[in-house]
Symmetry: none
Subunit: 177 residues, 2 copies
DNA sequence: CCACGTTGCTTGCAATTGCAAACACGTTGG
DNA sequence: CCAACGTGTTTGCAATTGCAAGCAACGTGG
């Protein structure tokens, strides 16, 4: 157990560091950790905690997620779509509600796959975290191409009437720390 | 000193746990950590490492990211990475479907805001999804009861029955790399 | 009444993290 | 030649994690 298979996390960090052409001490300073410790991390002798990992990611100017995945702390699930990923990561809804949303979304996808093979072409999705929603106002001319059953609309009416007015609600602020 | 404010991470975990109606020991077993340690984590006396956090997330059947964010170990990737934004940017669903998802999500949020500090209202209605560790983690179609109105369940039934069966996702092979 | 099965919490203790200080090795250059 | 500065590494050590064992309280029911 002395040598926990930290995986390539250390290698990865060192790789990124050398690639950025900065010295171990520099990164250590930027990340707010001690140089010796960073050295040990890079060689897999120590298993950095998440906090340290996060700081190192900052010092390297890379996504913390990349590091977490490399460290095996997050499953590298290739997201089916960003919607599912974000729903899963949302902290503002209950697990039950989460499941409902996921079910609905997947059923939508399935419907579309069955009746609208054309949509398939746009399936590609980038894995980059950067949000680049070229939000062209999304108002497609759906007309009737939306094959989703009336039941949904009917069921929603009583709720949309009271809640779906504000386009973008002001964030209730998720205070942290 | 060392116990400043580990944030609401412990609270959050306990919240999720009670909501899932599982005991501290059960979650501890499912997550592979000791019961006393989990107890201390939930009360903010200890700052769990990323590995532990990850296992707890698994035991709770929630996204590890949600926990990391709650723990403040990973910045909210981007301010606009909330569910609504991503849904709006999604090209895989039709405009009508998009609207349905948005409405549902907003109604969920509204529900939660109503009984914010006292989630008992919802906890009372929720049944544990899967206390068993080696459960298949099926999404359990919300037919019988749910935190959402019966209309949703009714509308969903014909679809969840045919689509939301898979353990996680059928993966139609649209994967990237 | 007392064995028994829950719940969650407190107590030592081994193992580990993370750091300050010092080490090894190379390059300048006065 | 050897001080000065650069790199990364090793060595103790305080502080912390994480756990096994045990404790207190709340039922059940034999």
């Amino acid at each position: 157990m002395a040598l926990p298979k930290v995986g390539s996390i250390g290698e990865y960090i060192r790789e990124q560091r050398t690639q950025a052409k900065i010295s171990l001490r520099q990164l250590a300073a930027a990340a707010g950790v001690s140089n010796p410790y960073l050295s040990q991390i890079e060689r897999g002798l120590r298993k950095p905690s998440a906090e340290i990992l996060n700081q190192i990611a900052k010092g390297l100017h890379i996504s913390a997620q990349a590091l977490y995945i490399q460290a095996g702390l997050i499953e590298d699930r290739e997201p089916d779509s960003d919607v599912l990923t974000v729903i899963r990561a949302d902290t503002l809804i209950t697990e039950r509600q989460r499941q409902v949303l996921i079910d609905i979304y997947e059923s939508f996808r399935k419907e579309n796959r069955a009746g609208a093979p054309d949509e398939d072409a746009r399936a590609a999705k980038s894995a980059h975290p950067a949000p680049e929603p070229q939000n062209g106002d999304t108002v497609s001319p759906p007309g009737d191409e939306g094959p989703f059953p009336e039941e949904f609309a009917a069921a929603l009416k009583p709720y949309t009437a009271s809640s779906a007015n504000g386009t973008t609600e002001p964030k209730p602020g998720k205070g942290n720390s």
